[in-house]
Symmetry: none
Subunit: 196 residues, 4 copies
């Protein structure tokens, strides 16, 4: 028998990820994927059950990339705010280093296709868990603003993603508005009122 080409599924996923940011999820077509990867259309079905499965795998691969990146770079800091800042910093770094992955993730999360594809909730949710515990501690200690940690983290996430994208698209100049400024803004937003 022929030996299996082990890298192929990953290769396909990578190609589709690029196609997603180039043309959008909605115009991903199995035929185009085949053409871009140079394998026959029917062959894609050896690795993926169907188109939905392929799209799901593409999304999960990017999520995994981000999770791995976070795991590799995050280490607990002294103080809730320091942890939150580190978290934000890592997201930015990831967005800069992996623009494709980041774009794919945000595009999926804003697409109704995403809702149709059956992705279990835990797979889909932003992985705020680890830092959320620390945020809660910060709130208990009176350092962090006493409100839903999800809201605080979401603000950070959205802001960093937008910032990274703006920098990439040259809408914002990172010299004039460096990452540190964004982190300062977020710190101000996070801090408990009495702590200012």
């Amino acid at each position: 028998m022929r030996t299996k080409n082990e890298q192929r599924p990953q290769e396909i996923i990578d190609v589709v990820a690029h196609m997603v940011i180039e043309e959008g999820i909605s115009s991903i077509a199995m035929g185009k994927v085949a053409k871009r990867t140079g394998i026959s259309q029917s062959n894609i079905y050896l690795y993926f059950k169907n188109k939905d499965d392929l799209l799901k795998q593409v999304f999960l691969a990017q999520k995994a990339k981000m999770s791995d990146y976070m795991r590799d770079h995050f280490s607990e800091q002294p103080g809730a705010i320091a942890n939150m800042k580190l978290y934000a910093r890592i997201i930015y770094q990831f967005a800069i280093e992996n623009p494709v992955a980041m774009d794919v993730i945000t595009q999926y999360e804003n697409s109704p296709i995403f809702a149709q594809i059956d992705i279990s909730a835990e797979e889909a949710e932003m992985d705020f868990d680890r830092v959320t515990v620390l945020v809660k501690q910060g709130i208990a200690d009176g350092i962090v603003r006493d409100t839903d940690p999800y809201v605080l983290m979401a603000i950070a996430f959205d802001t960093l993603v937008r910032y990274a994208k703006s920098v990439r698209d040259k809408i914002v100049d990172p010299i004039q508005v460096p990452l540190e400024t964004i982190l300062d803004i977020l710190e101000a937003a996070w801090l408990a009122p009495k702590n200012r």
Copy 2:
């Protein structure tokens, strides 16, 4: 004699906007649009050059709706922060009152379709112009944090959109985290450090 035809394009746009949030941009089909509007398929081409044009008009219509809403509800307040808060409040109100329009806007802005369809940059950009002047004044007065106004307004925009969506999706409870809390957070983010 008022002809029915002049309403038709708007009617089609409204229908498509609803279809976009129901099924996503990708599954908009001219045939379905024809069926939903009761207009013959070929007739759509009397009002729109092609599908891309239709989708573009749909997007621009929602943008216009938001601009109109802003114009109708915004009135200059004393103090930069008050203006910014009002601006944020209006965005939230619009998102709540016009979920379809808001969804369409964010869906488009996160999709490369957006880039492919020929929309001139000024049409696409968030219309921060009016409040931007006031923000700049606030910065000059030393009240508002001295950084790119676009960044400050984008944080507000993204945060409110996410908040409105989270409320709608019941991820965030508006009783526990009321709009005022979000505005407080934004105020903290906006204020010049020395003003805290």
Copy 3:
């Protein structure tokens, strides 16, 4: 607007009927149908909801052909046996004159595809109704063998179909075994034992 080509659906049905006897139901493909009719594949869907619908219409058209033929040629005779013989004769004549229709009908009725396609029972059932009443009368009069009329008619139907097919395929020589012989055999089978 273009004027509708009214004959097209019928034309398609005729072509498919011929394809059925040439290649079998199972190898009917929309692409082949399109090629044979000379219209574009997508156009078939203007006239038929889908392939199942097309196959169903093809079958029903042949059934209708047979029903019409029976209606046009059957007239009540004096005596049950005379009626049954006339019925048998008409079936034979129809099979000879409409070999395609007859083949399609028998092929459908022996195919599991037939079961999958949703054809209401009354549409599918052999139309023995009219003659059945007369057979029952014959039984009541003691002329016809006292058993299920369906069985008696089915024997006639199967026998005539086989006979017509055998004649066509030159397995049986109609000079040596004329239709009258078959009818004699059937008469013997039908007659009540005491009437012999």
Copy 4:
């Protein structure tokens, strides 16, 4: 050493026969066959030249089953009619005991696939040979109706097959219309007119 391989072709044939009556010839797919038998898809081609060959072997196997059954159960009786009745009885019994085989046979014989697959005429023809000799003797003796023996036997065959199927499908109640009635009908059909 008995190798497993020699049973494999037969095993495949049996599986396909069942699939034929479950889903019809048309939906037999080599992939499905492989899955059902647990043999790898490409391995089927070790035993069968191609799909047509497989289908042909399936058909011939059922024919052989019927021939064997006939050989095992038929024994010459005194009197032509007795022989013919026994023949008919055996066909019925076979149809009841081997519905799969019987269904496959009739499904094939009513399909042009049958004609396309290269099956030599003698393989395909109903094997009336043995009893035909006896029928001819009956005709010579003036007991059996003087006509083509093939016609007489075909009537019996078709009638029994239809009867068995009707009983199975509960269209005919075997209590109300027992096999003996069918045999009586056939006897009446067979007998030379003067012998009634």
